[in-house]
Symmetry: C2
Subunit: 326 residues, 2 copies
Amino acid sequence: MIDGHGDDIYRYNDIRMNFSSNIPSFADLSALKSHLYSRLAAIASYPQASGEALEAKIAHSIGRKASEVMVTSGATEAIYLIAQALARQCAEEERTYTVFHPTFSEYDSACQMFGMRPTEQGTSCWLCNPNNPTGTIRDEAFIRQLAQRHRWLVVDQSYEDYAAAQLPDVGSLPNVICLHSMTKKYCIPGLRLGYLTAPAPVVDMVRRERRPWAVNALAIEAGLWLAKEQPRMVDMPAYLREAQRLRSLLDTIPGIHVGQTQTNFMLCTIDGHTAAELKEHLALRHGILIRDASNFPGLTPHHFRVAAQRPEENDTLVKVITDYVS
Amino acid sequence: MIDGHGDDIYRYNDIRMNFSSNIPSFADLSALKSHLYSRLAAIASYPQASGEALEAKIAHSIGRKASEVMVTSGATEAIYLIAQALARQCAEEERTYTVFHPTFSEYDSACQMFGMRPTEQGTSCWLCNPNNPTGTIRDEAFIRQLAQRHRWLVVDQSYEDYAAAQLPDVGSLPNVICLHSMTKKYCIPGLRLGYLTAPAPVVDMVRRERRPWAVNALAIEAGLWLAKEQPRMVDMPAYLREAQRLRSLLDTIPGIHVGQTQTNFMLCTIDGHTAAELKEHLALRHGILIRDASNFPGLTPHHFRVAAQRPEENDTLVKVITDYVS
């Protein structure tokens, strides 16, 4: 899906506060930027065709073998390469997949691009954990059951660093592919950097689908530095507490209902208006961007999603939505 | 093909001169680097999902409509997306393609990844013009004939800015897709930036294969600036004259034979040694990197490719190869 994602900040002139992408906009990227500045010469040479130095570094940092890690141009590239690999493994009638709506739209888009049909007992199952847009976490028993029921299970852990509870560790199951997002972990969506982990034969299967130089040299430079330094971009416990505070405040606004969340973002509904109307009002009148979530299958025109930002920004969001509905 | 390309500079410790990638390593990137430094904040936001602002800017700069331009993460991504799109348009028995060896390996790799078989009269034909690794240019009559004989013709003009002769303008033919490389034009292989041009319905067909955020935000920032400023990275007439001077000098070395070239790189053979032996000798003894071209289908273990660099570097190359063969 090309259109309809969050963080469409370029569509508006004066966005001052961005609640639309699931990333804290106040992350301190100054050290990373300094490093990238010192490495700008990397633009003049080809990156490694497959990013193997970065794969080795990431593997070391997470205690896995390099053969169990594949670097991608964001988790989104991983989703498409996995769909391409799984479709190739399947006879026509086996080209089926399962997702649990509402969830990230790219699993549907990628699977359908490679000829797979959605069913309840698909050959592959795709799970986002914590889930976008609901912010909920599935437990280990549920995930192990999925791994038993489906030939392959893809667990997108893009939001793992924002999980308010321990995530089940299912990465060693032989048919599970886990997606990881350095974009999300380090608040760098512009750089496009992610990786997948799986048993080596599964990683090999996905590697056969990739093209050379898919990851930009500056993304690789950033990744090498981040995997080594592992900087803390935000104070996570404080940020997750702030997300719960925002949830409580929004949920007390008449006509606004907010689901439980175990991460930094939350799914809301608004009575009497559409999310699209609310979004336009907030963007044009207040320079505030939210995610109209009505295009997630299974949701309604009244659904929107916000990610917590700074306390004072969150207070402003609560105030302007309160004014809007009253 | 992941392994076996040129510019594998990361495999060696002390490369001082790089003749292995078809790009002048002395290009002046300082203004672009300054601009990127000023735009490093772009890493903190998602790029446009499809890079439409950059497509509009490029279209304007080349006098085409935005609907006729598609930005990609390097010309290599374009090759794979086109192969994916063409395979989808074809019944099983039509999934055939034609290439003229020796040429860039990725046409074979991409077509075969999507189930196409090489034949002499393929549904699609893929031409590199000027051709890598030979440096030769095909004329308009030849290309028009190809466009008539094949349902689709892909003309990879990645080296168009290094062409010593006028390239035929075949971009308006209804079944021709032209590839363009900002990587090559602006000497920025690390950034991964290219685009294709074709009639709007053909561009639409390829656009349906792409995933969101494929082009990194810094590549987009660079592209917007480059399309606007159109800086001259090298003195092209002088550089192409220097390439001819290098060709003449290399060709006079006993046992070295150099093909005619109409661009900045050239295909050579060495008698009595393999290209792999020459490459290892030059890299380990002299810190000089060349492209062992023996893995191009149709070539031999004796083929290597060099791109001209600075005059004094070219003189050094000639001297060390002369010493090696004598």
